[in-house]
């Protein structure tokens, strides 16, 4: 009975949205007005500085103004505890009605049956007023079903200082030339700081691939691309590339002027703009012999807790938040999943361009065993001087073993 009501109400939302989409693109209120009840939402913006949380609060306040009967409880959870806490709570029937976060844990949670299947919303989200990109929806889909309502996209690009680096290098060769000429550039590589996340873009530049989507097996040894990209990083280090264990240190060095550029994501934009103002620029990472720099692109978004008693209201609330996405874009530099939102800020626009060459983050379960194994390979090549081909082969074997392939 409950599911029936939910389905019918979702259909109602879809119909309303479809009705709206035929008209003007700026009539969002119709779908979400008149919500009442209490919603609990978790977020983890405490880890990333003030700008995101401020924007988030502004949006929640706006939704509440539109819906006087709605009561929203926001809970900030440390990012390192967020997924774990949600998973334990939701699996025992507790937790918030929904949470907003990157989609690191989406495949795990979807397969553990903790999230509401939102597949029926797909058409709504693609249409006005939401106008979400197909890429964002693809990366929110697990085993053919949509389990996340995308909000914005994240991918890494090259931050550079226009005062220190008037023309930023765009290819791997140009990077090497610049480094040899004494230009200081930075890269995050440490196992604990997510090195295997930052490296992903370079795989594309050298024509490498990690996962065979058909079999779920490691594909990094099928071409020399992945090993080549590690070798390039190692050579670049020898030429003067500065490598960091975590991006907080890279950020500090960049603001100080010790490096003229480094690879990082839009979550840094707020703090960097505050510190550097107009001296800040963003372009995609270096294009290589195998193709463009193709970093993992994945949507941050809303996840509706299947154990919640208010799944309808939670879904409506998420949609209402999306109608205020402009705030996230303007205040916190989010790259909207909504393709029609105007981006005035050049940095945010820079990242929107980065996302275009991004690699939609796979939701295959096998990716879970990519991170640490290839993180090891990167550290082994950079710090221990292990042969890249050997390191990649070892990582591949370990990954397949853990995946029982």
């Amino acid at each position: 009975m409950k599911t029936l009501i939910r389905l019918s109400s979702l259909t109602a939302v879809a119909i309303l949205a479809a009705a709206c989409s035929s008209g003007a693109t700026t009539a969002p209120v119709a779908t979400t007005a008149g919500m009442s009840g209490t919603i609990t939402i978790w977020e983890a913006y405490g880890a990333s500085g003030a700008a995101e949380r401020d924007a988030f609060d502004t949006m929640v306040a706006a939704v509440k103004t539109d819906n006087p009967g709605l009561n929203v409880t926001v809970l900030d959870i440390p990012f390192s505890d967020l997924f774990s806490k949600f998973e334990t709570a939701a699996a025992t029937g507790g937790g918030p009605d929904l949470y907003i976060a990157p989609n690191d844990s989406l495949p795990t949670e979807a397969r553990a049956n903790l999230l509401v299947d939102e597949s029926s919303l797909s058409a709504t989200l693609l249409a006005a007023p939401y106008n979400e990109s197909q890429v964002s929806l693809d990366a929110a889909t697990v085993d053919g079903k949509l389990y996340e309502i995308p909000e914005s996209m994240k991918a890494v690009g090259l931050f550079y200082r226009t005062d220190l680096l008037p023309t930023a290098p765009t290819t791997t060769d140009a990077w090497m030339t610049a480094l040899k000429a004494g230009t200081k550039l930075g890269y995050v590589y440490g196992a604990n700081g997510g090195g295997s996340y930052y490296m992903w873009g370079l795989y594309g530049a050298f024509g490498g691939k990690i996962l065979d989507p058909a079999t779920g097996k490691c594909a990094a040894t099928s071409t020399t691309g992945v090993a080549d990209s590690l070798k390039w990083l190692s050579d670049a280090k020898a030429a003067g590339l500065v490598l960091y264990q975590n991006d907080t240190d890279a950020k500090a060095a960049f603001i100080k002027g010790d490096i003229a550029g480094f690879i990082d994501g839009p979550w840094m934009t707020g703090d960097l703009k505050t510190a550097l103002g107009a001296k800040l620029g963003v372009i995609p990472g270096p294009t290589g012999p195998g193709g463009p720099f193709s970093p993992l692109a994945a949507p941050d978004g809303f996840y509706i807790n299947k154990a919640s008693a208010n799944t309808d209201l939670a879904t409506k609330f998420a949609l209402a938040m999306l109608t205020h996405e402009q705030t996230f874009v303007d205040k916190a530099g989010h790259i909207p999943a909504n393709t029609t939102i105007t981006i005035t800020d050049p940095i945010t626009q820079g990242f929107a361009n980065v996302v275009k060459t991004g690699f939609a983050r796979p939701t295959a379960a096998e990716l879970n065993n990519y991170w640490s194994n290839f993180g090891n390979a990167i550290v082994a090549v950079i710090d221990k001087g292990t042969d890249p081909t050997q390191a990649v082969a070892d990582a591949c074997t370990a990954m397949d073993k853990a995946n029982k392939k």
């Binding site: 913006y45 405490g46 880890a47 990333s48 500085g49 949380r53 809970l75 900030d76 440390p78 990012f79 390192s80 505890d81 774990s84 806490k85 334990t88 709570a89 025992t92 029937g93 507790g94 937790g95 918030p96 604990n192 907080t248 500090a252």
Partner: protein, 312 residues
């Protein structure tokens, strides 16, 4: 049997009398100088990290991370303290409320551990019954298993206990306190039993002859004699509650129930962007109450660690 006193911890009163019985003759001037140099060197290694934290917490420049060794910063500022007290977390809970919850958990843990532990310790030390040995080994074995391992079953168990429609034991300060007590109780029993073992039995036997029952003997004779170990047990229980973040982060879902340790854990997390000065200020604020109590109770605590108790 007669010289058994050597192996047991010496109660405070006794120790005070004996203090000053040092070996050998007065040290020479040369030894004095060398010893002083060594002692100062040791003292500086002990103090170095502590000074560093305090100096970070009062650094007036409000930078994310220190850029040099600056043990005595020029121009101290309490801005970091003001910042963390004004807004300890992004959640709607004040510093005072966080502290109150921390105290609640700590006091409940201390009381539960003390009450349950002292009764059990007394029985294990003084009364003889079938299965005593087995029970002692069981308590010891449980003591060795880290609390981490019991999270999943405890979670399910505590969340299955509900009162009315909204109150769930697992999602409450009491629930967390009970989970923490599961970890503190075995050590408390073991340590208190070890201590009670060292208390001479003559008084109890005399009281028994006078017709006192076991409960009266326990309450009016054993407990007063076990003061040091009671202080230790209460203190360790309090510390366990005060520093606990593991069960709290897994269990609690209402920000109104959050504690100081949870806030601190949030700052320590791998992806945290808290400026080090604010972390340092918060750390000092969280550490000071327990450090102060520890230093005040120091003599009792040392005497109350009934280390002979390993004998089982």
């Amino acid at each position: 049997m007669t010289t058994v006193t050597v192996a047991r911890p010496i109660p405070v009163e006794e120790k005070a009398v004996r203090a000053g019985t040092k070996g050998g003759r007065q040290i020479t001037f040369k030894t004095q100088i060398l010893s002083q140099i060594f002692c100062i060197a040791v003292a500086s290694t002990v103090l170095f990290p502590l000074l560093w934290v305090v100096s970070m917490s009062i650094d007036p420049r409000n930078i994310a991370k220190p850029d040099g060794l600056n043990l005595i910063p020029s121009g101290a500022s309490l801005a970091a303290y003001q910042a963390v007290i004004a807004k300890p977390t992004l959640n709607p809970i004040s510093f005072v409320e966080l502290a109150r919850n921390s105290i609640e958990i700590s006091v409940i843990v201390a009381l539960l551990t003390l009450t349950l532990g002292s009764l059990a310790a007394y029985a294990l030390s003084r009364l003889h019954f079938h299965g005593r040995q087995v029970l002692m080994i069981a308590v010891l074995a449980v003591l060795m298993l880290p609390a981490v391992a019991t999270l999943a079953p405890l979670y399910v168990l505590l969340y299955s206990i509900k009162l009315g429609t909204t109150w769930v034991l697992g999602n409450s300060i009491l629930g967390v306190a009970i989970a923490v007590t599961a970890g503190t109780l075995p050590f408390a029993i073991w340590n208190m039993k070890g201590y009670i073992d060292t208390i001479p039995r003559e008084l109890e036997e005399a009281a028994a002859v006078d017709g006192a029952n076991k409960l009266q003997i326990f309450l009016f004779i054993v407990l007063p004699l076990a003061k040091p170990v009671i202080a230790v047990t209460a203190f360790f229980g309090f510390i366990a509650g005060w520093t606990e973040f593991y069960f709290s982060w897994a269990f609690l879902q209402h920000p109104a129930d959050f504690t100081l340790s949870m806030a601190l854990k949030g700052m320590v997390g791998q992806y945290g962007s808290t400026p080090w000065s604010e972390f340092a200020a918060f750390a000092v604020l969280v550490a000071i109450p327990v450090s102060a109590v520890y230093l005040l109770l120091q003599r009792y605590i040392v005497a109350g660690l009934a280390l002979g108790g390993v004998k089982g």
